[in-house]
């Protein structure tokens, strides 16, 4: 079997790596989004109380 620079196997492997990369990127974005939502909720919940104690 001749050795080609880009065997079909490389394409498969690249697809797999690309897929995993995108999944990890999406995961990071998800955690970031979740953090923003949770922190802004925390602020909304705590502010009136903080104002009341002043």
């Amino acid at each position: 079997m001749a050795i080609h620079r880009d065997h079909e196997l490389h394409g498969r492997r690249f697809g797999r790596n690309l897929g995993l990369g995108l999944v990890l990127g999406a995961f990071v974005a998800l955690i970031f989004g979740l953090t923003v939502v949770k922190i802004s909720h925390l602020k909304e919940g705590k502010l009136p109380q903080a104002e009341a104690t002043q």
Binding site: E8, R13, G15, L18, L20, G33, L34
Partner: protein, 310 residues
């Protein structure tokens, strides 16, 4: 087999093979029912949190699918329908599936717990345990009632969705569970009647093999009749309403009519028309579940206009 065979073209797994390991078709049902459970719950959830929660419930379902494929690889190799799955086809090793399944199980439960609440996270963990250990490992190969009890695993997602919003369990979420739980046996047995997989060769006791096809037809009818009161009861709860009640009455009347037709059929007649009635019943069972949960969604979405609900 030389080491070269491991890197032979065609044997290397692509990204799609890992996706296939997570049983995406089963996942779609999980996503839909969990989403309905979450939306109809009386406590509002931030849309992004809801999206994240459903994503991780789906991932948990996918993880249990991977663990199921890991454990059942020996069965899958024997049966024609499953022989092309990634493990029997040799694209993914059993150890890899086990590792992926375990890692995604832990990740999905932790993330669901962090995104919503720990009760929901633990509930997802229990569901994965139930599907993988109770159903796949204990019951599937030992009793023809495997479908009945295993169906519980598929019925938990709306309860998890509800738990994401409320942090607990309520009669409404239990009835959503009961609806899927009672629906699963007739749905699967109808499939078993016309798929004719070689379960006996694979060592899986299927009702069609252990008790015969005539008995399976009767079982379908009994479960379909028992399902009707559950559907009506669900439509009378706080998440139900006129739309759900009408849907429940119509859908269950049609479902029971289909089950009666199946119960009355002789095997020879069924074989003669290539299991037409059984296939129609199976297709309708999918619409049945979709429309039932769809009706619950309609009730909730009508609420802002003063319509829907009781």
């Amino acid at each position: 087999m030389s080491d070269l065979s491991a890197i032979d073209h065609g044997q290397e797994a692509g990204f799609g093979d890992y996706v296939q390991l997570l049983k995406p078709r089963v996942m779609s049902l999980v996503v839909f029912t969990a989403m309905v459970g979450l939306i109809v719950a009386p406590v509002p959830v931030h849309p992004f949190v809801a999206f994240t929660a459903i994503l991780f419930i789906a991932l948990g379902g996918g993880a249990s699918g991977a663990l199921n494929m890991w454990y059942d690889a020996d069965i899958d190799r024997v049966m024609r329908r499953t022989a092309s799955r990634p493990i029997p086809a040799g694209r993914i090793s059993e150890g890899e599936a086990l590792g992926l399944g375990l890692a995604l199980s832990v990740l999905s439960c932790l993330m669901l717990g962090l995104a919503s609440n720990w009760f929901a996270g633990a509930f997802l963990g229990f569901t994965i345990f139930f599907y993988v250990v109770v159903y796949t490992m204990w019951l599937k190969r030992s009793t023809p009632q495997n479908i009945v009890i295993g169906g519980a695993a598929g019925a938990f997602p709306p309860m998890i969705g509800w738990a994401v919003a409320t942090g607990g369990v309520a009669p409404e979420s239990l009835l959503m569970f009961a609806l899927i739980f009672m629906w699963t046996p007739p749905h699967f047995w109808a499939l078993a009647l016309f798929m004719k997989d070689d379960y006996s060769k694979a060592g899986v006791p299927m009702l069609t093999v252990t008790h015969g096809r005539a008995a399976t037809r009767k079982h379908i009818l009994v479960y379909t009749i028992l399902l009707a009161p559950v559907a009506v009861a669900l439509s009378l709860t706080s998440i139900g309403g006129p739309v759900t009640l009408v849907a429940a009455i119509v859908l269950n009347a049609l479902f029971i009519a289909g089950a009666v037709r199946i119960a009355r059929r002789e095997e020879t007649a069924a074989e003669a028309d290539h299991y037409k009635a059984e296939k129609a019943f199976f297709r309708f069972s999918l619409a049945y579940l979709f429309l039932h949960f769809g009706a619950l969604l309609v009730e909730t979405s009508l609420a802002p206009f003063g319509l829907g609900g009781w």
